[in-house]
Structure formats: structure tokens, C-alpha cells
Amino acid sequence: MIAAYSIPLLISVSFILLVFKNGKIIKTLSILSIFFSLCFVLFSSVNVFYSGIGTFAVSGFRPPFGIVLVLDKFSSSIASLILFLSLMIVAFSSNFVKEKIKEFHTLLLLAVAGSLGIVMTGDIFNMFVFTEIMSVATYALVGFATRKKNLEAAFKYLIIGSVSTAFMLIAIVLVYSQLGTLNMADIIVKINLNDKILKIIFSMFLLSFCVKSAIFPFYIWKPDVISGSLEPVATFLVGVVSTTTVYVIIRVLYTILGVYYSTWLSVLAIMTMGLGAFFALLQDDIKRILAYGSISQLGYIFLAFSSSLIFQGLYHLANNAIIETLLFLSIGTIPLHKKRIEKVSMYGFLLGALSLTGIPPLNAFFSKFFIIAGLLENKLFLYAIISGLISIVTLFYYMKVYFMFKKGEKRIYWPVIILIAFVLLLSFAPVWLQFFEGIEDDLLARYEYVIGVLKP
């Protein structure tokens, strides 16, 4: 499986960058490394889609004993999404960060490698290690500009993130003491869901990732951290980090535990959705509005997954990641143009905002529509009504941001234009639905995952 080489590629390039002094070489090297790892992941995901789960045993140990990297349909699509978004972010940040270029690119590549590792690993301790790589790199990125607000945001993020990973480590230790294994496929074989202790342990694991993905009772750090960080870093936090944390929660809920309906998660998702939207209305800072908006959108994704609407949730996850990246990159042109927004980015922002609120021919309309239709089909009328109403509130806070803008001069930023193209591409819903339904079937087949990884 060639995709396994992308993680060492990214990490090694991130350290090689420290040798160079020329800014242009550093930019091209980091963009090329992410591009090649994207190619690797795409190449092996084609294999995965045609011939089943691909595994890679690190240093040759057989799967239940050593670390194993697993790529099934779900993880390969999420990995390619993450790499695509981080390619856009790196390409955009090259005209943003003028000083300390090599440190910035080193940290960004480390964070990308960490999130890629989280998605690809099949071992929960390895997942912890990659989580810490990603988190430490993002703490450093948040505090990168070393002004007052950056440092404060970095410290808040550091303490809260470390506490959540401490909970995660406790859960992993207890899993090892109870089951004697760390491999995810082996855990599926050995787990007994009626055991109270295992239930506590996995709840702790899930909640620690809920803290990282900032859903309802734990969302409180996210606006502070996003408003206190540079624009490319804020984009990375919203686009890539939250996608990986959602991935982990879904992987644990669906593949390891086999829980398809969870009431607690849907209640939390409704609260997240509502409070995120209402608090976004009260803010005056553009980045804080968008941060609360991203929290609100996460609520939709979790609502879909907690009531077993899988392909709808996957579709909204992809749409949300791409559109949030588009929104943050387009407001990222404000500091570059003397406090005015660049023209094309402004239309990009409008497109993304209209799409997230659910204007018919655009992509997020279809995903939200499918989510609400699925909720009605499952006879969850209250949830459907609330999510429909909050979708209208979404329009108000994004339009509030839009009316704050002043148009600047026209300059072409390629990442913004590529993202606009992808938003339009994702709007052809019927094509994508088949793709996501294929992933849904793969995600529901727990025992095929076990057989594919352990190869008995």
C-alpha cells in the first residue's frame, strides 16, 4: 500500500525544510510533498475501491501485534479530502507568511502528517501519538505570530487540548488492561458491549474527542482560539482538524462499538447547532462569527451520524470542510488588501455562505435536504424542524459578515478559485450520492473490516 509512505514523506520533508534559507524553495518543497502524498493516497484509494481494504504492517509485525496502517473506503476518502484542503492552505499561506517561513511550513507539514496518521492508523495507541503530533504542531501554529492574542489563544488551546488527550490516554490504558490489545480490529473481536467498565472506557475516549472537535458543552475554546490565530492556521483548524476529529468519533462509534443510534450525541448535536448559530449572531468579529458558524455546522454532521443517516452525513462532512476552507481563505484576503476583501474572494464567500444556508442548486443544500428528509423518514420530527429553522438563521449571520465587506482590488488567488470550482463540482448531487452510498456500505460492514485487517 503506497499511501503508507506519505506520512514519513511529510515528516522527513518537514525537517529537511529547516536546512534551506531561500523562501521559494521551501514553499515549492512543501507544496510538492503534500501533492505527492495526495497522489499516493489517491493511487491506493483507487486500489481500495476496486479490491477491498489495504493494510500496511509497520516494520513487518503481523497486525494484532504490531502497528498497522489501514485504508478502507471511508478513511481513504477522508485522507484525500484532508490532503487536498491542506494543499490549498499551504498554497494560500505562501503569500501570507513573510517571516519565519521555514518554521511555519515545518509545523504545518507536521500537523498535516499527524492528521493523516490519525485517519490511516488501525491502532489506538498510534492514534494517540498522531493526535499529539497534530495537536502540538497546531498549538505552536496558533501561537506563531507571538502577539498578545496569539499567545493567549495558544495557551488556552494547549491546556484544554492536553487535558482532553490525558483523558484519551487514560481510556487507552484501561482498554489495554481490560482487553490486552490495542489493535482496532482485534478490539472489535474481543469487545463485549454489555460490560459496564468497557462502556465507561469508550465513553471517555469518545468524550475526549468531543472536546477536541468542540461540540456543545465543550465548544467554548474554539472561537477564542480561532480569533486569536493567523488566517491560514484558523483555516487549518476549521477545515482539517475538525474533520479528523469527526472521523475519529465516527470510526469509534460505528466500526469499534457498532452503535448506530445514540440519543446523547443527537441531543448534543442539536444543542451545538442551535447555540452555535445564536451566538454567531451576537458577535462583531468576523472570525468569531465564522468560528461559531463552523460549530453550528458540526452539529448537523453529528446529528446525521447519530441518527444513522450515514451517506447524508458524509456528504455534509465533505461539503462543510470544503466550504469552511473557502470562507476562511476568502476572509484571509482582508489583511493582504489593506483591510479590504479581494473581489473574487468576496464572490467566493457569497457562494459558500449561500451554499451553507441551503440555497437550492448548491451542494450544501442537497446534503442538508437529505439530512432533514432522512430525519423525517425516521420520524424524528422535532429534530427536523429545529435543523430546518436553524438553517435559516445561518443565512442571517453569514449575510451580516457579507455586508461588512469593502471591495478591494482584483488579484487572482488560485486556492480560492479551485475551492469555488470544487463547490460547484460537488453540487452535482446524484453522482456524488452513489459514491457516498458506497462508503456507507463499507462503513456498516464491521466484520469485513476485521477480516481485511487481521487476514485470518
Binding site: F125, E132, Y139, G143, T146, V163, L169, S177, D224
Partner: protein
């Protein structure tokens, strides 16, 4: 016995992180917390009168009866390295925060809000 020690250590760590106002003390609390978890991880792999996890052809039977589980030790090493990096970064941040805010009190470092 050791279980009680580690659990008190974890609780002390949480107390330090949650209730201490000084940011350096918060970092120390975080360190105590993660060390407590590392100790928990060692206890999981502990076996009274255990031997090294190296199998020789001569002592296979004895090995199977009383070898220590080697995995938790590897995990503890990894986790210690991660803690060191997090603590180093946190201390650098504390230094920078003190230079910028001229205080170590967390209650005065609250400009981002709302």
C-alpha cells in the same frame, strides 16, 4: 496499593490544572497528571517476580510462565517523550506570556472573550 497512589497523583494533577491561578503551576499540574497516567500504564504491565521479555531456547518454559509484558514499557517511553515536548512548548509559551502581559496570573490573561 500502587493503584491508590497513581489515582491520587492523577487527582492532584487535575487539581493543579483546574484550580491553580498561576500559569506555571498549571503546567506543573499537567506534568503531574501525565506522569500519573504513565505510572498507571506501568502498573498495567507489572507482574510480580517477572523476568525480561527475551526468550532463549533454554528457558522457553520459564519464559512463558513469568515474562513481563513488554508493550506497556514501549508505550510509556513514547508517552514520556510526548509529555516532554508538550511541557517544553508550554514553558516557552509561559515565558512569552510573561514578557507580553507582565503577569503570570491566568485571570489577567483574558483578552479574548465573548
Amino acid at each position: 496499593m500502587m493503584h491508590i497512589f497513581t489515582i491520587t497523583m492523577i487527582i492532584i494533577g487535575f487539581y493543579g490544572v483546574l484550580f491553580k491561578g498561576n500559569i506555571l503551576k498549571k503546567v506543573m499540574g499537567l506534568n503531574v497528571l501525565t506522569n500519573g497516567i504513565n505510572l498507571l500504564l506501568i502498573i498495567v504491565g507489572y507482574r510480580p517476580d517477572g523476568i525480561d521479555a527475551i526468550a532463549l531456547p533454554s528457558n522457553i518454559g520459564y519464559f512463558l510462565k513469568s515474562a513481563v509484558d513488554p508493550l506497556p514499557q514501549a508505550l510509556v517511553l513514547t508517552s514520556i517523550v510526548i509529555d516532554v515536548s508538550v511541557t517544553a512548548f508550554a514553558l516557552v509559551l509561559c515565558y512569552k506570556l510573561f514578557k507580553n502581559f507582565k503577569t503570570l496570573n491566568i485571570k489577567k490573561i483574558s483578552t479574548l472573550r465573548g
